[in-house]
Subunit: 336 residues, 2 copies
Amino acid sequence: MTVTDRRWRVAAMPDEQLDSSHFELVPADRPEVSDGEVGCRVLWISIDAAQRAWFQGVSYRGALNIGDTMPAFCIGQVVESRSDDFAPGDIVTGHLGWQDYGVVDAEELTGIEVKAPLSRYLSVLGITGITAYFGLFDVGDVKSGETVVVSGAAGATGSLVGQMAKLRGCRVVGICGSAEKQEWLTSKLGFDAAVNYRDENFRTALKEACPDGIDVFFDNVGGTTLDTALGRMAYRGRVVCCGVVSQYDTTTPSRGARGVPGVLIGKSITMRGFLYTDYSDRFDEALQALQGWIEQGSLTVAEDILEGLEKAPEGLIGVLNGTNVGKRMIHVADPS
Amino acid sequence: MTVTDRRWRVAAMPDEQLDSSHFELVPADRPEVSDGEVGCRVLWISIDAAQRAWFQGVSYRGALNIGDTMPAFCIGQVVESRSDDFAPGDIVTGHLGWQDYGVVDAEELTGIEVKAPLSRYLSVLGITGITAYFGLFDVGDVKSGETVVVSGAAGATGSLVGQMAKLRGCRVVGICGSAEKQEWLTSKLGFDAAVNYRDENFRTALKEACPDGIDVFFDNVGGTTLDTALGRMAYRGRVVCCGVVSQYDTTTPSRGARGVPGVLIGKSITMRGFLYTDYSDRFDEALQALQGWIEQGSLTVAEDILEGLEKAPEGLIGVLNGTNVGKRMIHVADPS
């Protein structure tokens, strides 16, 4: 008997800002599982601003086309396996997409030994936490006593970066987009200061919050926020290039960071881009550290959960507009 | 008796391209030497594209103003000393400027124990060689077998960088601005390939010269050359930001490097700016290595010498237009 699930297909390519007309929720016959493949029920979907960049075709991933199922990193449960590596009931992560059920090569899945609420494996114990950890400590090479500024500070990665920098003994300043987020960062997450990039006096406020300049700028957004921070870097400062959220939701992104390379030479600044996959042989190191901080109660885990597959487009559009606080994800189903 | 020398004063600030009307050669009464100061006859003047940037006021140095003596790094000979550190006859380096005679604080001078032709202390055994050495080996962290591309390849720093990368066992591609320079780089300096950024097919030629992408891009020029090279970087490539010659001779420099930071994230690229002064505690290491290569005959030292103080403006304007091959300098006088 054919089982019918649902999937979100790309209905149109965005010209400028992404909106709900670019997606269409359609019925999908459950595909057969071939040799070496695994069929999974989707439980949780990760919503990431980078998903918007996939429409631009300039990211680390190939471009999307009309008709494609919207891709996404997910947590799933194996329903049918034609691989020796997985058995029905297993909990896995992988790119299952915005749908109820996905079939992928076994090689593309990673099994999880579940020891925490499932959502954690998309937030602090998943790509988000790993990205924050290696970006701050390895790419940023942060040291105790330094001034760390993080953009997208109330977002998934930023909220962890700031807290970890505090644990390392840094002065931490968050850049975010609302007074509510500023309040949350300083009163709930322990940031030393938070500034709003939408404020008229943003440049001055950032300067005042960083009287000795910025040693490490962990950048999730790019655009004019990056331009402004580059002007406040300290000698031998490091810019961790993690994301460019401000430039994803457009077909005409900014030309490039202002004053680069001249500003880098004048203050011996390093700008370094990375992907969490650069550290695939060191994931355990990050996960052990993150797990330890959670157990000690040193890390506040912020998850922003929407209920139901039908919320996926709304979830992504919101992330692009900064409506989320912490890691946004879609809860599709519970494991059986 | 008052001795009258000559000095080049800034006569006007350039709007766009620098020309000879921006300088005026005027008589200068030889100033008195105060306590702690040293008076030096200028022997050699270093001509550097960065001197144009000093008019922009955005460099590591304060901006120039009308009436200022044009500053420059020089080799001089002490005539009068009111410091215990220097005696008449000593050969020194320091910022003496475009003039016959300069008086500076003793602290700003460095004595040279002369073991080579004096001009070498402005080229391979001076800032140029030190910059090339640390830029390539430390900032660029170059490894044997990698593909190294250097812009401004026929210039002072570039010509040394390419040769040192060959000595390290790299594939070396030079970017320059004429067919003559291309020929010189490949036939005289041993570069594996050279491409002309002024050619219509520059982008394609660079791609063909770097089939495996660029591991280290040593950039002296910025602008569209940097944009093009960024598009050819290999995974985990490094961009050594040493100079921005293409953007000095204008009051409207390019906004910034295209696609930064997105392109850095996609391929885990590092861009790092530096000044040779970052390595002031390691100069000996570089100088010993450079001296060794010269003694072995492994380094071709290219010096582009103009005779006479009156040639200084012409010398700088030429460097900005790429007329020099190797390190340009002005020979003003011989030591007594």
